[in-house]
């Protein structure tokens, strides 16, 4: 009887504060960004514009770049090699990682290059790459490709070695061929690792693109950064930097969305599917 009475009073009363829905993620992120922008604006205005800048000045510089058309052409110059290099890294890195992880011989023969390549000081090699490939599109593709290939490859490789042996034995028990086991058991079981590698590679690919453009300095967002820095135009310099950071955030979100589509079971198992 007491239980019933309590239940009734609960339904009649206004919602319990503890049961109120928590703030959605995007609202928290938005509030955080607004706070940072406001603080930056307040403190940035007190600094000499050569040594720093602030959001409203950067917005004005952004508008100038946009109006002159410089931003669009720089974006196009940068994004084309970025996506070609990054795409190639995925197309080549994933299968190579799968093969290295799956086959002992491949691991022994190729694993060492992948591990070493991940730590390669690419910046030091860019001048050499420029000698080989010139100052244009090709060298940017090469630098982006080399920077993003290894994290994708290593993550895929690690993912394969983490596949439970019993799942492979399920394939063997039903007389699946090596290719079928690789494609229908190991690949899906490794997908979360592959997606993590692809995510990690976004940041590296963006950095790689800028590095390549610093060295070539004739086109793209990297050139805008370098040229405006040389002219002490700090506000303009921040425009491509912020665009690149936003692009990385956007790509990260896109990859997360793709991951959710191609590997929905992963989020379900981890209990992240309700958010």
């Amino acid at each position: 009887m007491v239980d019933v009475a309590q239940n009734q009073s609960k339904t009649a009363a206004p919602p319990d504060p503890a049961e109120r829905r928590p703030l959605p993620r995007w609202a928290i992120t938005l509030a955080s960004v607004v706070c940072v922008l406001v603080l930056w604006e307040i403190f940035g205005r007190q600094i000499n514009p050569v040594f720093g800048s602030y959001p409203s000045a950067i917005a004005v510089a952004f508008w100038e770049l946009l109006r002159s058309g410089e931003l669009w052409s720089a974006l196009a110059e940068s994004l084309q090699p970025f996506f070609v290099g990054y795409g190639l890294a995925i197309v080549i890195g994933v299968p190579v990682g799968l093969v290295i992880g799956r086959f002992r011989t491949a691991e022994a023969a190729l694993g060492i290059y992948v591990t070493a390549g991940y730590a390669m000081p690419l910046v030091a090699l860019v001048p050499l790459l420029i000698l080989w490939l010139g100052l244009g599109f090709k060298v940017k593709v090469a630098v982006v490709f080399l920077m993003s290939l290894f994290p994708i490859c290593i993550n895929t490789w690690l993912g394969v070695t983490a596949v439970p042996k019993t799942l492979i034995e399920v394939g063997k028990s039903f007389v699946a061929s090596d290719v079928v086991i690789l494609r229908r058991i190991i690949l899906p079981a490794t997908l979360p690792y592959i997606m993590a590698g692809i995510r990690l590679a976004v940041g590296r690919a963006v950095v790689a693109m800028v590095i390549a453009e610093f060295f070539t300095t004739i086109s793209g967002l990297g050139a805008v950064i370098i040229n405006s820095a040389n002219n002490f135009d700090t506000a303009t310099m921040f425009v491509p930097i912020i665009i690149l950071m936003l692009m990385a955030v956007g790509l990260n979100g896109l990859i997360g969305w793709v991951e959710h589509r191609v590997a929905p079971w992963q989020a379900e198992i981890a209990g992240r599917d309700r958010e």
């Binding site: 034995e169 399920v170 039903f174 058991i185 198992i269």
Partner: protein, 259 residues
């Protein structure tokens, strides 16, 4: 037909423990036969080689000596004449129950409409028709193992090999799964070789029990219970059940106290 014979099967493992190479004789000239349509349980303390014997029969591990034959044909690697039910079901987590059953059939080369129909038929057989679109993590332990059984049965093997299939389930689920397995056996008449460490389970389900100890067959015990054993609560009360159980318990106990 579906007769499995172990003929002098031996299996040695080498493993390195703290830098020292150890040789383990997992199976030592094991011989016994599972007759067509019969259920045989392999029982023994952990490390006695019962799971190894099953893996050799499946073709997952090669024998070091001797041979296993299925209907006179020597086992060399895995084959569709044997269906394996794994200890923790081992369903592919990205596939639905239905797709998991279809996976085995596809490996057998089945395509198109028969593929779905056959998978459906075996999901019905294990009582999972209503949950066929769920993924493994949305199924309970018992349901997962039902899918595992359906997947193995669907390829219509001559023999069903089961590795402690109900070992990870709670007591109540385990008993209902045992009853269900007996029912499935009555309907399909499959030869079943299953590994268990649960004495009650062995006596309840098997026609004969192979008691193993340190890689050898210690004894083969006939279970004098008639089929069908539909009502497990009645079977449990029978003197034959308790006598057989006690007999094997003493065997296991006698060898265990030696340690």
């Amino acid at each position: 037909m579906g007769e499995v014979s172990f003929v002098d099967v031996s299996k040695r493992f080498s493993l390195r423990v703290d830098g020292e190479l150890h040789h383990v004789q997992a199976l030592d000239r094991v011989s016994f036969t599972v007759r067509d349509g019969e259920i045989v349980a392999l029982i023994g303390p952990s490390g006695c080689g019962k799971t190894t014997a099953l893996r050799v029969a499946m073709g997952l591990d090669p024998a070091s000596g001797g041979r296993v034959t299925v209907d006179g044909r020597e086992v060399q690697g895995c084959g569709h004449d044997r269906g394996m039910v794994f200890q923790h079901a081992e369903l592919l987590p990205w596939l639905s129950a239905m797709q998991n059953v279809m996976f085995g059939l596809e490996m057998k080369g089945m395509r198109g409409a028969p593929l779905r129909e056959t998978a459906q038929k075996y999901l019905d057989l294990v009582g999972l028709a209503s949950s066929q679109n769920r993924r493994p993590h949305q199924l309970s332990g018992g349901m997962k193992q039902r899918v595992g059984i359906a997947r193995a049965l669907a390829i219509d093997p001559k023999v069903l090999l089961m590795d402690e299939p109900f070992g990870a389930l709670d007591a109540q689920t385990r008993e209902s799964m045992q009853a269900e397995l007996l029912e499935i056996h009555a309907r399909t008449k499959k030869t079943i070789l299953f590994v268990t460490h649960d004495l009650d389970e062995a006596v309840m389900i098997a026609d004969r029990i192979v008691v193993m100890h340190e890689g050898r067959v210690q004894e083969i015990v006939d279970v004098p219970l008639t089929r069908p054993r539909a009502d497990l609560s009645i079977v449990r009360g029978l003197p034959e059940f308790n006598d057989t159980r006690y007999k094997i318990w003493r065997m296991l106990h006698a060898t265990q106290t030696v340690h």
